[in-house]
Symmetry: C2
Subunit: 320 residues, 2 copies
């Protein structure tokens, strides 16, 4: 079984070893105000999944992808976009409740594992996955291994500061990349652009909290100039950041995943143009920027699930 | 045998398999204006070394660390700080002249290999080496392997842009990290600070081209306020950049190497203070910033030499 905890939603799945999602459910993370009510609902969702197919699925453990987690301690701590900013011993809590081993991994790393095991990165030794959801997650694979860091806490690119004294971030700092490049980042950009313009615009009639990235995408499709500009600016910032990451890692490909990546060319065109413009000559034209080859959110669920097989030596192919 | 080509000097050595430098020489790279005269002198230096100890050293190959190189093609191309900015097939050139196999590696990666094989990183799985010479080089080790990228061209952190429309860089871009943080970077900062101040300062009597990082260090030691401020500003920029790199890699330690790192606390204090200030809470107080444990430049020479043993299976311990 695998769980992918995100700022907007928590995805759960029973996953077969061929990377097939057998059962699936979703919980709206953002609907909860505190740890207690969130965990009650999470438990309920897990029990529901476990009981499906008449409870016949043989579940060997829970692979859990989450932001700001410490896989060694089994904790989530200081998550900017979750209803529990304080430290939670999530592995212990779930193990106690369900009597199943729990394997924790950073959300971005889970996506990178999923893409490498079951997606378009199966034959790649060096690649990156950038997940554009409520925040910006990242998973890096070098020499066919996840760059996990000394305590599994590598990959916090979303909190690299791109603008000193820039936008407030949930992490307590200012100007973090994810305050500009993420589902919420593009919304902030859109509303900032609205304040510049005197022209009438449909978004002037919708409250901030009701705007979704999908609405911005739909508006861009029918030529809304502010929506188009929001994608252009978001793509520029991401493209310039990617050019830096290329200089650090020289990956074969960079995959963009998560809700915002579904905007297709509205996002990819400026990302690629600005990345190429900023790249050192030696890298120009050599780095692929691709959409995740897996369905939205499935990469993280599959990657997290693979931890169970890997840790229990259930399946050889669960190693990259 | 190993060679470490830097913007200021080219270091050469005959290296024993225990990581002992048996013979050593240096060539001033910056004294040459073109490829032709540089290579003539390089050849001469190599012949001199090979003939030492009555020509009795058994040399199995040449390990070559260089900036802007492509280890797969065996070329150096577009090196911002070398007397040959155009592409040079350096591996082929040396192989032809000396009838020895030549193994190429990025200079920063050579330093990282050296530190891991013979220095303080011997028991570390995840660490970084930043070399502060004419430019800024970088070698990253993740999961005990060099992060070399798809074509061995990873690690160009020196050319990540930290200031849009900032200082001109030899690479053709503006605002690259190494235009601020390197031996030449701190000199540029020092002279910029001089232009702000009306106070008399000893550096107002010395031409730009005659100031070395060692002179800035000596001036800082006797309290020269501009020299002290140059270190503070350089350390701040590097410290903030390191905080980003920590968020990406979560290394156990970051080693600072190269001439500028010999300034000790003048550099390390502001680097560590600004890095810690900018770090996400989860990393604070956990990342060591250390001087290279090897003599200046030896890390790169040892790392480059290890390529010969590694490629010829001469020595088991040459793998990290």
């Amino acid at each position: 079984m695998s769980i992918d905890i995100g700022g907007t939603s928590t995805k759960l799945a029973i996953v077969g070893q061929q990377g097939v999602i057998l059962e699936k459910s979703t919980l709206m993370t953002s609907a909860f105000k505190d740890e207690h009510t969130y965990f009650n609902s999470l438990f309920e969702s897990i029990y529901t999944l476990l009981s499906m197919h008449n409870g016949q699925y043989k579940v060997n453990g829970i692979g859990l992808g989450a932001p700001s987690c410490n896989p060694i301690e089994g904790t989530i701590d200081g998550a900017a976009n979750l209803p529990f900013p304080q430290k939670v011993e999530i592995a212990r809590v779930l193990e106690t409740e369900f009597d199943l081993p729990v394997y924790l991994i950073k959300d971005g790393n889970a996506s990178a594992l999923g893409e490498g095991l079951f997606g378009a990165a199966q034959n790649m030794d060096n690649y990156m996955v950038i997940t554009l959801g409520t925040g910006l997650g990242c998973g890096i694979v070098s020499n066919k291994k996840i760059v996990s860091g000394n305590n599994g806490q590598a990959g916090e690119i979303g909190h690299s500061v791109i603008k000193r004294n820039g936008r407030e971030c949930g992490c307590g700092k200012n100007g973090c990349l994810e305050t500009y490049v993420s589902a919420t980042g593009i919304k902030r950009t859109l509303f900032k652009l609205l304040t510049f313009s005197v022209a009438e615009n449909s978004f002037k009639n919708i409250p901030f909290n009701e705007v979704s990235p999908k609405m911005i995408y739909e508006a861009a499709k029918i030529g809304n100039p502010i929506a188009l500009k929001a994608f252009e600016q978001t793509g520029q910032i991401l493209g310039e950041k990617l050019s830096e990451l290329v200089a650090i890692f020289e990956p074969e490909a960079i995959f963009l995943a998560g809700g915002l990546s579904e905007a297709g060319t509205f996002l990819f065109d400026p990302v690629i143009a600005h990345m190429e413009h900023s790249l050192l000559d030696i890298y120009k034209g050599k780095i692929q920027v691709l959409p995740s080859s897996l369905k939205t959110n499935e990469a993280a669920l599959l990657g997290a699930a693979s931890l169970v097989w890997q840790n229990q030596n259930i399946k050889e192919t669960c190693q990259l």
